[in-house]
Amino acid sequence: MNDKGAILPAEDGVEAALVGWLKETLNKKIFDALLIPVEVPAGDSFAYLLLKDPAILDDASPLPPVMPVQGGKAISRLTMRGSGSKRVAAVVRPCEARAAIELTKLKQAHLDNLWLITMDCPGVLPLSDYLEDPAAGATCFAEASLEGDRGPMRPNCQVCNRFSILQAPASDLHIGTLESADGTVLIVPGSPKGERVLEDMDMPLDAALDGWAKRVGEIEKAQTEQRRRAHAELREETAGPDRLLDVFSSCINCHNCQRVCPVCYCRQCYFESAALKLPPENYLTRAERKGALRFSPDTLLFHIGRATHMILSCVACGACEDACPMDIPVGQVFSLLADRAQETLGYVAGESLEDPLPLVAYEMDELHQVEQPYVEIYCKQEVQDA
């Protein structure tokens, strides 16, 4: 990443400045289209639009208060079959950019002709809170993000420590909004691709990033501490079969969490496949063994099994929790699982395109703690003891 950034005047607020700048990129034909959140006509939600006409850009919200669709999923949908000949800029949050990186590694997206533009993310409101009163939600979001208060945000956003390009170096251009007291924001190039855009826009890289980087570092430190504490608490609440089953006992098997998950990309989900649709004898045997069997069965298998499939690519965005109609803290549990699993395998989801996926790569000399040491001739020892 560059240690200098460009300055963008933002007298009328960050969003207006950003929209103005994006409009200019469209007019100058630096980008052919934008993928950007725009408020839906009914005014109660936001949706990504693949936007060609600069006039529509006036309605765009680069930083909407909610995340109804994870941007990584939108980017994957756009570029799954190839990157295309047109240049597209996607305005997304850092976790959405990280999901896009993961999906690219999983061959579900192509970023060759796509620029990821992220910004310092204040978090998003839980969808259900916002839908109760969209107008009040928007005000609440604006106030909270101005004060840097993550209290009303998604639980995963409250403990997010990868909210800026410094901790999530996934994007090509990053908008630094923290420390914008003098009515300007920073545009930080995150890749050579991003630098070229700033060159084409005649924006010199002459702003020092020290003040902004220091502020980001401070918040990151506080957030990391918060995350550690929250995860320790959560582990206390969920560890063990009894507590774990209590947490997931209200699950209605709607599989919404899987459907909205940006990195759950399988065309045929294992947990909806014939592998889990068994003949009645199987269920009756299990019912006999357990005394009774809950229907639909395999709820815990779905959640833990889904974790084995996607946890190493989990960006802890919390889209799953937003989609859960039963308010199961599934996003928080998965964020905890993801942190620990990714730490075990020395990987951070969405950090770079170069790091290989952890289940594809391996080292010869690693993870010896999972190999069970051999007790010499165990049987004979036992025979002797007897």
Binding site: S249, A287, R289, L301, I304, Y374
Partner: protein, 143 residues
């Protein structure tokens, strides 16, 4: 009926078709015995064993899962056992985080000629699980 005396663990033993199964063949050729409640299951390569198949028996009735593939460097497909090791590490990490006893999963290399080592692993794991006791998820109807 005393549960402690009668507890007979249900154990799934995943063996790769080149080394692990070979180990069990060698054990058979030498007329070695291992506990009958250990159920061997052959997979083509431990590297081809999805993590979900390690978790599934643990949730639905097995007391332990043990996986044996070739020694490092001996894999028929060059690197399957290294991949398996990563997957086992992933499963153990998940089980540990959720408080679901990662020690119910064992991963140990067994070569084709190591019949004794295969039998020892089965016996040792059986005793280990007997000491741990039944898998608590086994009797839960709401899994």
């Amino acid at each position: 009926m005393s549960d402690e005396r009668e507890f007979e663990p249900r154990i799934i033993y995943f063996l790769c078709s080149w080394c692990g199964s070979g180990g069990s063949e060698t054990a058979a050729a030498h007329h070695l015995h291992y506990p009958e409640n250990v159920m061997p299951s052959r997979v083509n390569c431990t590297g081809a064993l999805p993590a979900v198949h390690i978790v599934r028996p643990l949730i639905e009735g097995a007391d332990g899962v043990v996986i044996s593939g070739c020694h490092p460097g001996d894999c028929h497909y060059n690197d399957g056992n290294f991949r398996a090791r990563r997957r086992v590490a992933l499963v153990k990490s998940l089980l540990d985080t959720l408080g679901l006893e990662p020690e119910r999963v064992w991963f140990r290399y067994v070569a084709h000629g190591e019949g004794q080592r295969f039998v020892d692993t089965a016996t040792e794991f059986n005793d280990h699980i007997k000491k741990l006791g039944p898998n608590p998820l086994k009797t839960r109807r709401d899994t």
